[in-house]
């Protein structure tokens, strides 16, 4: 069997259910692949891992991948299982935020580590300064949990529909106590989890062939997970070596993730790519530029999906 190593962007959870399902269900094996899934974590930049040769293929957000590309690491999108994005900014109603116009003077929690580009693009689009000045917003580097909102240390925090948003609800705050902004709805949505490889590797036909089989099996996994969310969640919980994940939460997550993967057969829609690029370029934020110029043709390819999905 051919060996493939996949580096995830974050810890083992239903966000990556498709891959775990494909592994557990033997879809990879059917394609004669021996796949190793490396969970991520704080401090793990998948882009850096693939550059160091620690992985053959990674999942990451498109903005981060394009940023890496502009910094000289030629990443290529070979598949896009997530059709839409789950990134949101959620605010406590009692803080008085009702629309983006209310942001100035507020404290907003933001994820960094390559996840901050959508936020800065949005603020640039709104024309709200982020340097903590009078009419701007106060930005907090938010860690991994939703405590800042519960503790009222921030007026709004970043959440994923499939994870932190559920945690906020679980903590006992009802939906009508919240005001939530979806980045897609605000017109600054960007492509989230896609599969990326190094450009030079793709030139090797053998590697390309491996990727074809990998994407085919992965998408099979994703579709299986969408149809069997409870089983998928169970597989994820079983695959989690920390033993800390709860089935309930993973089932919730799987349900929400399924909404994001639903529209994708795995092939990147060039329009989505262009839209992400356009958003990034339309709102180049001076201190946080993801990209400053068109990434060019090489940033994505249908070569793999075309073959995998025919």
């Amino acid at each position: 069997a051919d060996e493939v190593t996949l580096q995830l962007k974050w810890v083992t959870q239903a966000q990556f259910a498709g891959y775990y399902v494909a592994l557990e269900k033997g879809f990879y094996e059917e394609e004669d692949l021996d796949v190793t899934i490396k969970p991520g974590g704080p401090d793990i930049a998948p882009e850096q891992v693939i550059a160091g040769g620690g992985a053959d293929v990674i999942t990451t957000w498109m903005a981060a991948a394009l940023a890496a590309r502009e910094r000289g690491l030629p990443l290529v999108n070979i598949a896009q299982p997530f059709k839409s994005g789950g990134l949101q900014l959620t605010c406590l109603k009692e803080s008085g935020v009702e629309s983006p116009e209310d942001f100035p003077g507020r404290t907003l929690g933001v994820w960094f580590f390559g996840n901050e580009y959508p936020f800065y693009a949005w603020m640039a689009k709104l024309g709200v300064p982020t340097d903590g000045s009078e009419d701007g917003v106060e930005v907090l580097k938010q860690a991994f949990n939703v405590d800042p909102l519960l503790n009222k240390q921030a007026d709004c925090i970043s959440v994923m529909t499939y994870n932190e948003y559920g945690q906020v609800l679980d903590a006992g705050i009802s939906e009508d106590e919240l005001v939530t902004f979806n980045y897609l709805d605000e017109g600054v949505g960007m492509m989230e989890d896609g599969l990326y490889v190094l450009e030079e590797n793709l030139e090797d036909p053998e590697f390309a062939d491996k990727m074809v089989r990998f994407v085919r099996a992965s998408m099979k996994g994703w579709k299986y997970a969408e149809e069997n969310p409870e089983e998928a969640a169970e597989i994820v919980v079983d695959s989690d070596e920390t033993g800390a994940q709860t089935l309930d939460h993973q089932i919730y997550m799987m349900g929400e993730v399924a909404k994001l993967t639903a529209g994708s057969n795995g092939a990147l829609d060039p329009a989505d790519f262009d839209q992400t690029v356009a958003t990034l370029l339309s709102a180049v934020s001076p201190d946080n530029p993801a990209i400053t110029e068109e990434p060019g043709e090489g940033a994505w390819t249908h070569a793999i999906t075309d073959e995998a999905l025919n």
Binding site: P42, G72, F112, T130, L140, K141, Q153
Partner: protein, 281 residues
Amino acid sequence: MDSVILALVVWAAGTFVAVQISRSPGHDTLPARIAVPVVFGIMLLVMWELLVKGLNVSQVILPAPSVIAATFARSTPTLWGDFLQTALKGGVSGYLIGCSAAFVAALAIDRVPFLQRGLLPIGNFVAALPIVGIAPILVGWFGFDWQSKAAVVVVMVFFPMLVNTVQGLADTTAMQRDLMKTYSAGYWQSLFKLRLPAAMPFIFNGLKISTTLALIGAIVAEYFGSPTRGMGFRISTEVGRLGLDMVWAEITVAAIAGSVFYGLVALIERGVTFWHPSQRS
């Protein structure tokens, strides 16, 4: 390959120079004591530069020193701001609070042997608590700004400082204590005239250990939430953006700040404990 050979040559040359200086008659002078590590450091940097360039190591894995230096020069305002936020506001304030609290606690404990026997063993456990576990909790309690970083630093430096101070206060010889007894000296008299001076080498040991802990603590705490400035914030953010040159520029700041901080305390130590055999070479 050439650059690997060149690196080896640099290594040989650097070693030779360092050995020559340290064997020279003036090896005990201050310039020599500075020159040797500097030569050693420069040698490492040159080898690093050569190897990274020669072996085509990706800049997103390990940038060359020249690139780091350029970034450092270009970003001094940012670096300075981060330094103020983390090292001065978080680190130094936490250091001062933590060390003085530990000092006062040591004096209190010292009067009550029961407390000493109960608290010190527990101190060993607490000292082994990983900051990565404590930091998120303290950020939750004290907020995102430097106060929570200072709190992490306080927790980190408290026990090393406490243990050293308590140990130091006990480090008098029987004869020195007997002398105080024959004078029928009171508690405070023997504290100020005997036990505190005798404890100084230990206290400074604690203070020195705490300098590096303070800086590291303040930086790590920023991983668990921070404003958009600070050395830890910059490092964690830039790793995610593959800005490894900036990461190393911050590491350089940390190394310089840490060494200066340590050196400063060591300098004060030299002045205060000039009488101790370890300070008389």
